[in-house]
Symmetry: D2
Subunit: 430 residues, 4 copies
């Protein structure tokens, strides 16, 4: 454990700036975010954009519409003279805001062949035109809501891809979203342990700058001495767990996780397919040979936890992760990079891969920070009402926009969720 | 009961000819049937064709492909030199033939965005070209299989519409498949009872001519004296049942039916919508005011049975129906007529509406006729293996091709099924 | 096919008398039936009588109470001066009579630890005392309802045992209801085919004498030439079906049956247990070595149908069975005989084992006879409302009281039901 | 906020002694605990002890046997010469220890009418005799396992009552476990806020003395300034929440909680029954008028959380609770007191009702403490494998034995669980 990262505590507490934190609200940023969403669906057919493969996922077309509904409902409808595009879209494209009214049942989003993709794009044009007028008019009290709307749309950019991948995985033809590059030849560097010192630290977003309400208030926590793994767990390492009977040994699992594994007949990560030539991995590039050096992806918290126990370690808490992330540097693989899969860790010193590549499961249940106050009104439903039976993920993935992620960012999913771009970071107490 | 129809028994027994029985296999008929399928999807977008709203229904695109798969699998693959269009289509588009191999799970048909509509139409072209070559070569031992394939495709023409209507009914925008004509002003003629005489009769298809295996062998049955209603039950009559508390009176219902009604919160036929201005009816023309004179449609056997009990009557057996149908005449409203909804009964003498308009629930459980022998090989799975817990429907509907229906034709659905074009014919014992 | 049984048609039509048809209502018969019910629970502990192992089954204690509830509700409550035993028992022990009012949910019958067995027996004493007074007073207009009540209680005598056996089968200790006798050494006689002639026959109960409403009216049917198997299918024969892959060959099964078999992982009759020494059979005598000569029991209609198809035969219709049963003779193994299991067929001529031993699945869906009229009032719910998605069984079992069964008797269960004392009789068309 | 309790921090950190912490392992204590279990079932019939009303609950008889199985398996089977009582009991009465082998399915515990109550009591005698011999022999390396076994049995004492109450609640006769005393006339004292100071504190059990593994290691945490409610929320206060539409206002609920409430049609705490005279409350004394002054019981975490939000407060974290509990004094209502229901809070200063009366939901997800090490071997399954999707409850209830509870004690249940003796303690951030 030669490379302690705890020494920098004072510096970390003094600075919360993320390398890619967005600057103030402006028209250019609005256009950029909106354009990226549409760029993401460019390779898709109308039929592809219709797919909903489970209640938790949504069709790409619905993501296109819902992100516009946000601006229409929470911004434009609050302004004078705005004409709603279609009287029923409020019902169709509300996700879960009870305060805004009734909505179409989530599991039935895939049954909306109408409006067509063309109509939804027209809806976007309609909303964009009104938004451009508003943004051109200068600063507005709605700017924070617009800022939130852009981060909201960035979240849906990633979801659009995770949902699509799940839908494509149901098709025996194994469609590819993008063309695969050449097979990688990189080798994962050795896994090392980096120590974090004990003490009182501050976590959470500072009071100024954009952050979701769930990242605040910044507050003190007491951390015990621990160490973090230097990189994400690789497919090759996870394969050893499988081959050691990992999925059939209850002593390695949380009880509820083992039940899931049994009932769902889990034998490998969600998108691995066992063939006579060994495992293949299904991803946005279609079905590809497993790259042992790449990080293992699409595992549930239950699998991450079982792997960690097998490896004699545990998962980090979200606070441990955050402390390490405050000083993380080096290149990150984000949505804008277009790689569309997790990359092999670089042979750098320190903790690598904290941002991008894959979301990292933490052992922390998603809960309000001490003194948490949700946003006022309907937007108060954005985060707070989900703070139960979900677990925090940190750091973003290859499908997370670069300007969207922060050290204090808290993503959350149920422990059994496997269809996100999720990976495993190890930790251990000292 | 002034117009007995039982007198014609001898004549009926002597003649089994249906007015629209197809002539021998020929190229023209092949083209006609195949073209009609594609004409049916002309008003649909690629997204519409993708919809699957329940496990029992299939996307329009799947129907397009599956009907081609039939010819490829059961006809072309038996001939020399045929090149299969795509190695995985056999897996994707097999419906339920165990003998032909593994297949894509039925509830997941709606998740196949690939192949695209264009690719499926190309598949049809490929199959059609090979079929045309085969048919042009003259009579073949495969002719009966081709004949069956055309009747199979006609069945799917109707299913394509029933499945689409169900999918559209899930959309709050209430899409219309076709433009509605002017609202009808016709009044349903009085309901009369037509008597059938007692005795031994023959039922079922004669040994020659096309019929499904489940219509044979023709055999004798003993019928008790009874009477059949002169027309289908109208929406206005059914409304009186609803207003008399029909859905809340267990004494009118089969026990299992009442459980379905309670659990599913049935309060009217599947596609009726209660509004402040009274009931509206959703159909292929979208949401329209209820036409009290038109036959009530989209009811389960349970509802038909409860209505009949409320009306002091019962449902006919399939044999009673068949005897009456042997001499049925007059105009019929079939798929080719393009009306796309059930019409008001004509004021004719005799039993009307036996063919077309709506399938008529019978009280007969779907069972093999005495001496039934299924087709040999995989096609033996076409009918026989479903002869349990289903009930026979007779006569076809406005969505049934004219050349597809016969007096001996036995359709079948579970008693709780509501999404077919089903109506109510009354009967009573004398 | 040397022993045709069709020759006796005229005689059969002339006589409907069952060998054991009960005589008129009398006090002795009342006492006898009631006493037998209590004799059946004598070997059981209070805990045994509490067991409910599935929603379709009821605790023995509930059977004790419900059969008394029948007399209290349908007989005594109609008489002057009767004091109801407990104000809530009407709610607790109503089975399914909607017209009589609300009732305790069926799946929760096993949760009624109170009233205790002692209290339920006291309830029986209370009802019996009032019934004795009523019966001592001579003929009454309620006599038919009492007669029905005794037959009702006899049905519950058998159900008490089938439900108990199912509950005991859930206990890894394999409790025995009764002590087993010595293992049988009998060998099943060869299976022969007995022909039935074609023609018009009458079936159903005659207008006089006791019968359930579903056995009436007696009416004519036309039967095709057929043959019936001489005895029930034996365990040894069924074992050959299993060993020939019977449970894994979809072509032998009805589609819905194969789904049941797959989903439920059926590999043998319900109570067979595969051990290293071969199959054991669980029954009222506990776990015993399989007797290859004894009739195979506890099979669903789906299994019976699949076995028949494998054997190149089919199941009989209920009318075919009834015609044969009209002239059946010879010893029968009924509840009063105390054997408590199905016996090896005797080496007699003609069709054997039609009565007693095991109920015989027929291919006939349970439906009203032509002109069927249910009993008036709440007792009209006794049979009629279940005439859907159930199949007729004939002949009674070793657990059926001798005085309870008749040639026209129609028992009915869903096709997937396996926990009754059901066996397989083969038939074939000629 | 006049009565701060944070001042005593130093003292609390210095002392972990609970008022009722048991002394060292001895024969008297063994006998006392074992005897109390049997005393608890004294009012029950054999049928009562058979009841299992849901998969999460177990029959009283099973609790009797399982607690003996613990000693047999983890203690006696490790000693020389012990004769197992019955070869199958290990299978029947293992709860969830994978390492010990296969076990009877949990939802089927209520189907074990055999062994009888008498046999289970005999099993207890057999185990007790061997245990007494072992204990009489003096200190043993197994003493910690015995100590754990006694705490285990005490947990089952409470579960025996919670499970029984749930089973009795399914019976329309509303059976009472115990006779009710006179209706209370006490009035709940005003609810006050007691402040806790900010800072670093130690929580968890000290290294010596008995505690479950999940209470260790003792470790430092940083707490923000907060305040705790002075007593449990009363029925009268909760009634105001109901009358204010609490169960129909999604903005008050966690999203998953509101779904549970909708789906389960929650309208009041689990055992409240709405009558024309207002609410009645079902408990171990049967159905009684609601006592507005008594603490509201049998609520889920979801209801507790919604109530707190409605009241402008929140639930405490487990650490906040523990700090307050370190100095709690005053009388507590425990199992030995025989009251069998939660009592009205006393008008004392400070925080009252922290121990006894009702378990208090905390907002803390059940998770391992930093550096947590489960027990070795099969007993490692005791706690650790359940640390997911459960929430911590603190303080014990009227059904918790006095010697069983500690300030550091962590009970845990899923957020939707309502059948435990659970209540609401409010907290708020300052």
């Amino acid at each position: 454990m030669g490379n302690p990262i705890g020494y920098a505590r004072e510096r970390m507490l003094a600075s919360n700036s993320s390398p890619d934190q967005p600057s103030a609200m402006d028209l250019g940023r609005y256009r950029e975010v909106r354009a990226l969403t549409e760029k993401l669906v460019a390779p898709l057919s109308a039929e592809d954009m219709q797919l909903q493969s489970m209640p938790e996922a949504s069709p790409a077309k619905w993501h296109l519409a819902h992100t516009s509904w946000y601006f229409e409902t929470f911004v434009l409808a609050q302004t004078a003279g705005y004409q709603v595009f279609h009287p029923r879209y409020g019902y169709l494209f509300n996700s879960y805001y009870e305060a805004v009214g009734e909505r179409h049942a989530r599991p039935k989003r895939g049954l909306l062949s109408r409006p067509s993709v063309a109509e939804v794009l027209e809806y976007r044009r309609h909303v964009d035109a009104a938004m451009e007028r508003l943004l051109a008019a200068g600063p507005s009290p709605l700017d924070p809501v617009i800022e939130l709307g852009l981060h909201h749309e960035q979240q849906h950019q990633e979801l659009l891809l995770t949902d699509l991948l799940h839908a494509f995985s149901q098709n025996p033809l194994c469609p590819a979203y993008a063309t695969a590059g050449e097979a990688g030849t990189a080798v994962a560097p050795a896994h090392r342990w980096l120590e974090l010192a004990e003490g009182v630290f501050e976590v959470g977003a500072p009071a100024d700058g954009f952050a979701f309400d769930n990242e605040r208030p910044r507050h003190k926590v007491y951390l015990q001495p621990c160490a973090l793994g230097s990189r994400l767990v690789s497919c090759g390492e996870y394969l050893a767990f499988i081959e050691d009977g990992g999925y059939r040994r209850p002593e390695l699992w949380l009880s509820e996780g083992y039940e899931h594994a049994q009932r769902g007949n889990w034998q490998a990560p969600l998108y691995w397919q066992r063939t006579e030539q060994g495992f293949m991995n299904f991803g946005l590039h279609g079905l590809q040979p497993l790259d042992a050096a790449a990080p293992v992806a699409s595992v549930s918290l239950f699998e991450a936890d079982a792997y960690a126990r097998w490896a004699g370690a545990r998962l980090p808490t979200e606070h441990e992760w955050e402390l390490a992330a405050r000083q993380a540097a080096g290149p990150a693989n984000h949505l804008e990079d277009g790689k569309l899969s997790a990359g092999v860790a670089a042979a750098a010193s320190g903790v690598t891969q904290l941002f991008g590549d894959l979301w990292e499961w933490t052992s922390s249940s998603y809960a309000p920070y001490p003194g948490y106050v949700p946003l006022a009104g309907a937007l108060g439903e954005y985060n707070g009402k989900f703070m139960c039976n979900q677990y925090v993920l940190r750091g973003g993935s290859f499908a997370t926009p670069r300007s969207h992620i922060r050290p204090s960012y808290r993503n959350f999913f149920p422990a059994a969720a496997r269809w996100q771009f999720t990976g495993i970071r190890l930790a251990k107490s000292r």
